[in-house]
Symmetry: C2
Subunit: 372 residues, 2 copies
Amino acid sequence: MKFTIERNILLENLNNVIKAISIRNVIPILNGIKFELTDEGLYLTASNTDLTIKSFIEKKKIKKIESNGSIVVQSKYINEIIRKLPDDTINIEVIDGLKLLIESKNSQFNLNCLKVEDYPQIKLEYQKDPIIIKGNVFKSMIKQTVFAISNQESRPLFTGINFKLQGNILEVTATDSYRLAKKTVELSDFVKEEINITIPGNNISELDKIINDDENVEMHIFNSKALFVYKNINFQTNLLSGNYPNTNNLIPDNFAIIFNANYNDLYDAVDRAALLTQNKDKNIVKMETNGNNLTISSYASEIGRTEEVISINKNEGIDIGISFSSKFMLEALRTLNDDEIVVLLNSETKPIVIKSSKDETLIQLILPIKTY
Amino acid sequence: MKFTIERNILLENLNNVIKAISIRNVIPILNGIKFELTDEGLYLTASNTDLTIKSFIEKKKIKKIESNGSIVVQSKYINEIIRKLPDDTINIEVIDGLKLLIESKNSQFNLNCLKVEDYPQIKLEYQKDPIIIKGNVFKSMIKQTVFAISNQESRPLFTGINFKLQGNILEVTATDSYRLAKKTVELSDFVKEEINITIPGNNISELDKIINDDENVEMHIFNSKALFVYKNINFQTNLLSGNYPNTNNLIPDNFAIIFNANYNDLYDAVDRAALLTQNKDKNIVKMETNGNNLTISSYASEIGRTEEVISINKNEGIDIGISFSSKFMLEALRTLNDDEIVVLLNSETKPIVIKSSKDETLIQLILPIKTY
């Protein structure tokens, strides 16, 4: 293997695949990135067995190819080395069978490599008719939901994000059982059979980092894995097994209390109230309506208390006082891109639902916290 | 105590004094900031007994004073609260004796406080004729030396930075016994008696963060403490006891090998060579002269090796190969603000001296590492 390539092209593709390298990995060969230079171009592959990313640099983007070949390069050093090389042009060559020689201007790196024969055979599988979704639509639906997954391994399904596709309606759900985020997206194509899969949240977050424009994302879905194709990147993840609970019945159809609030007023008041805490993850904030006034308050016996009143636009009828995690509320609010948001409630023990005033496709739900 | 003040004025002064609060402090009252509102203005004080910072806001910068008084406020929350308040104007009032009420627009904070009687009496002491130095000169001499102090408590004096003042020449030295940084500054005034003090490095770094322009810094030096006055800020630190070693005899007067190198060429080559390491603190890089070529190389058995040749301008005579810590070399180089630097050597076991080509007042010295 011997070729000459522009530094930024190689670096961009290395940065894509390195996302599949797990810091907790203990299998030496999986700390490596597989380089395969063929007549088509250069394939880079990294995998942690649960997630495999393969990035392709077509031949015409490579300055010069002297000979094909393949090798596995330690991922820990290669990206930093390529990034810091002195010149825009890099010569790469396998020498002595198991060494990679990297040359740029007056700088030479000679890296020990791993045998390509030891690299696991990972099959990427494709459907004939993948499901198509725009990159930016895909990216925002992930961002608006994935924060709500659980990090508790005791309930593995909740560490994933659920994709449910019926007809042309894709419903994306994440929950840790204390809060829930649900986004509905209308696709241009219809599927014949319902699809219901749960993708590991950490993997989908890596895909989110790769997507950066509105180019199509192809979804190739199988029973136990899903492959996403975006530009020159193939991203294959295992799926979580088990039946994701039906969460639609958790979201009430009717609400006794509905009010609109200015986004910044509400966000900033909760953010300030959250300051009075010794444990950022467990800070309880209370909100109380009094007609068109909403009082946001919090209390910590050792520190003190805080209170702020903001104006809201509330429906006629009963008032309410309800307590919640400020962290969950702020994270939910951050997904809503609107000047005005709607808060929907039934009672102090029933879920808090938050939506944008203009967009019905995104629902954020938070369970209240009982205070005595 | 009741007053109205602009948020940014209060915040800036709180940010100054909070630097004296130690995260390892176990004395509850020293987690607090003392507020004292008098006829002159508002004094804010924080201390960890080793370091005391007092910041003063004169009366005319306070919008409205209704009554004087004093109280000790928990430092953990006050800065974030002030920073996040909704309005530029803040009302502050002591209520119920031990609570601070902070009001801004519709937001109210009610903070538990500590008794001012429990706050230690800390005397700030001043000389009649302090030593004067420009703020930016002081700041850069600290930056150019303090990185070289030791963090090993076993040799306490080396955790400090030494100020030696004879006549009008101030010599600032820091060393951890493996490297040494020395800066010489000419002051406008002369002292009659020699001054030789060692200031805790961590404290002087906090002072460095406060200084941001060329306003004068007054140095009031006593046997066991030093007080620095900069603008409205009084900064008093204890001194380290003991005789700082005479380091001048460590710096050779004559050198067998002298070469000039382009700053970026040398810095980048060492930076790249430093990539091949598993332990960033212990990476050994080697440089070898061959006439006007300098080869920078490093080797790590598990990873590989790297080599780069840069052009230098060397004196006639012998060549040398010498190994050193890349971390120490990069940190030393960062203090030199010049396109061209000078490297001075005697042998592979003798110190490496690095200077700017234009400025003789700053010397960086690194001991070589023996390799076999």
